[in-house]
Assembly symmetry: C2
Homo-oligomer: 146 residues x 2
């Protein structure tokens, strides 16, 4: 499974979030052989839950795993410090990122600490976030603690 | 309200977690005037949820807040990278830590980035974690991704 195919799953999650009136960021956790372990999207609006970003939702959906070194976290947007911390703490081996033009979190820091980072610069992801930020700057600021 | 008094709330949460058969780490988020905004404890065992550490549980319990700069996160144990990332991303202004003898996460990194860190070296917290790690080394390793 290519990074682009894995990103498609995260994009689908982001679209679900948008359709629910939420923040359009999606993520998915895959095993090294391309098996989908869990997928999810930001739940701030839908569940009034500020602790569930796309990456944490995918991580939660994957349930309790014994080791993440060979897993791949795919996300439509550069992971914020919260989600970057998740990747580092659990030793997730690789991160595939849809785009980092609209927001840059901790992916350089992850690369420095040995995580294999792939940045795709996907136009669908950029457009989705640009439209969302233009429409709901307040909600976006809230979600990244600004 | 003193850091020690705030820590008492987190210790009570850790004890609740232990009584439930879970990992004995507790946390609480306070406003600058000492109002308790939310408290919680690790939910890995109880809810089979690896995404809910003590700090994320307290953060979630506090609901959607508009700005965290003046808030204080109190935790029985040095925050792991995941929870340190939470503090940094949401600009939580201060962290009070029960102990960092049994585990040291990202609190020095937080201090470097302007977070006011208070380390109490509380004997109750040390004893609770030492006992837990001795009894369930497997579960502890799972919770910190080792």
């Amino acid at each position: 499974m290519s990074p682009e195919q894995m990103l498609d799953v995260a994009v689908e999650e982001a679209r679900k979030g948008l359709a629910e009136g939420g923040i359009p960021i999606g993520a998915a956790l895959f095993s090294s052989d391309g098996t989908l372990l869990g997928a999810g999207h930001n739940q701030r609006v839908q569940n009034d839950d500020p602790s569930i970003h796309a990456e944490t939702d995918a991580f939660r959906a994957a349930g309790r795993q014994r080791g993440y070194r060979s897993t791949i976290m795919v996300t439509t947007l550069s992971p914020c410090w919260y989600c970057s911390g998740l990747v580092r703490q659990f030793n997730i081996g690789a991160v595939v990122i849809g785009e980092s033009r609209t927001f840059t979190g901790g992916h350089d820091w992850l690369a420095e600490h040995g995580v294999a980072v792939t940045l795709l610069d996907d136009e669908r992801c950029v457009a989705m976030m640009e439209d969302f930020i233009a429409e709901r700057p307040d909600l976006w600021a809230e979600d990244i603690g600004e």
